[in-house]
């Protein structure tokens, strides 16, 4: 089976940052993402998810590498300066690359 290289960008951040994060993704023309509630701990202490608002969320999006880099810059300057969170990337291979093209309006 032929697969194609793409970049997976993962953001783990406080659940209350959901709307601002999704807005940034929208600005980048991201069409699809996966979001799940998670909990854990970081250098600002525990993040127990006993109440949804106090927990973390993990958002995964898959993008072409160039677009992923632009997103990272944007997240670093506008998002991580305001909210608790971490961002990391990984190289992944996908079956259908057209699913992950961004389209800016």
């Amino acid at each position: 089976m032929t697969t194609h290289p793409m970049t997976l960008v993962t953001v783990v951040c406080e659940a209350l940052a959901r709307q601002p994060l999704l807005e940034i993704l929208r600005e980048h023309g991201v069409r699809g993402y996966t979001l799940f509630p998670v909990e854990g701990a970081g250098n600002k202490g525990d993040r127990p998810a006993d109440i949804e608002e106090f927990g973390n969320i993990q958002v995964e999006v898959i993008l072409p590498e160039a677009e992923a880099n632009r997103l990272l810059e944007n997240l670093a300057s506008r998002f991580l300066s305001r909210f608790l969170g971490i961002v990391y990337t990984a190289e992944v291979r996908v079956l259908r690359p057209t699913k992950f093209e961004t389209h800016r309006s």
């Binding site: 209350l16 940052a17 525990d46 109440i51 106090f54």
Partner: protein, 328 residues
């Protein structure tokens, strides 16, 4: 009844005993956990029940009796953040945004504290204005708006209204709990006593049981934040214990002046004394992200909330007894 008697009576009630059990379970690492949706479900039930009951009462009482205490409640929500800001700035030397954010929490209200107070009144058989949940509904937002404006005005001279003010207002005025409460009040108002009869078995009968289960969960939620007490300092912990008493006294007087019964004045005291821990943190994270969430969340959730439901309620009842003289 003296103060000790009423404290004993409050603490030895099913909701409070299970609240304590929740706290103890976390302290002893008993590893009890309710699934997260339980919190949403139980709080929805409680807000719906008190909103609906309040709406039915509103239908019977009419707005002529309600508007003055409602305006008084809004006024309390507006002014409490202002003096909290002053005290936190001058007394505790907190930064402007932190002081404004904490002020917003203390001016806003905690629905759980209010619901526990309703149950407390029911258990000692004190009558109160059943439409009091309308005051809960109107008192959540004003302080959040004032706090945000205060924090922005003090924090970043100049553009304090900011382009995202619309989103902030939406967050403050249309939070989950305000929406649900106002909607349930409206539903109760439309249905009237007919609706109260048909829902009695669901909204009234299991109420104390559901509150008990909810406070069990809240005990765990509060106790998980006790570790953060060390991070916030003695000054803020003292603030979280003293301000509710002060606000309780002010709230009681304002409630009395606006024509409420002793039971209603007690509830106004509880509303003024309580601090928000869901709506206000959510709004602050978006509108004043520079403010430190550990400070406001710990003060409100790990200090003021447990204080209010255990010692606060009997203390405010005692205040009503001392000053208004007509409380069993």
């Amino acid at each position: 009844m003296d103060l000790w008697q009423s404290i004993r009576l409050n603490v030895a009630s099913p909701p409070l005993l299970f609240f304590a059990l929740g706290v103890v379970s976390v302290l002893l690492r008993a590893d009890l956990r309710l699934p997260e949706p339980v919190y949403v479900l139980l709080s929805t039930y409680l807000l719906m029940a008190i909103g609906f009951k309040g709406g039915v009462a509103l239908n019977e009482a009419g707005f002529s009796q309600v508007w003055l205490p409602a305006v008084a409640a809004v006024a309390l929500g507006v002014v409490i953040p202002l003096w909290c800001y002053g005290i936190l700035r001058m007394g505790l030397r907190l930064s402007a945004v932190d002081a404004a954010a904490i002020g917003a929490h203390y001016g806003s209200v905690s629905a759980v504290t209010f619901v526990t107070a309703l149950q407390y009144l029911a258990s000692i058989q004190i009558p109160y204005e059943n439409y009091a949940s309308a005051f809960l509904a109107v008192m959540e937002s004003p302080a959040i708006v004032v706090g945000v404006l205060l924090g922005r005005w003090a924090g970043q001279k100049g553009q304090w209204l900011g382009p995202d003010m619309r989103r902030v207002l939406h967050e403050a005025l249309l939070g989950r709990s305000v929406f649900l409460l106002v909607g349930s009040l409206l539903a109760g108002f439309i249905c009237g006593s007919r609706g109260a009869e048909s829902t009695h078995g669901f909204f009234v009968m299991p109420f104390e049981g559901v509150l008990t289960l909810f406070l069990f969960e809240m005990g765990m939620v509060a106790a998980r934040r006790l570790g953060d007490l060390r991070r916030v300092g003695v000054g803020l912990v003292a603030f979280g214990l003293v301000m509710p008493v002060l606000h309780g006294a002010v709230g009681m007087v304002v409630g009395h002046w606006s024509g409420l019964s002793p039971g209603g004045s007690f509830l106004m005291a509880v509303l003024a004394a309580s601090a928000s821990y869901i709506a206000a943190p959510a709004a602050m994270r978006l509108a004043l992200p520079e403010a430190n969430p550990t400070l406001y969340l710990t003060a409100s959730l790990a200090v003021t909330f447990p204080f209010n439901v255990t010692l606060g309620l009997p203390l405010y009842a005692q205040m009503v007894r001392w000053w208004l003289g007509t409380f069993p």
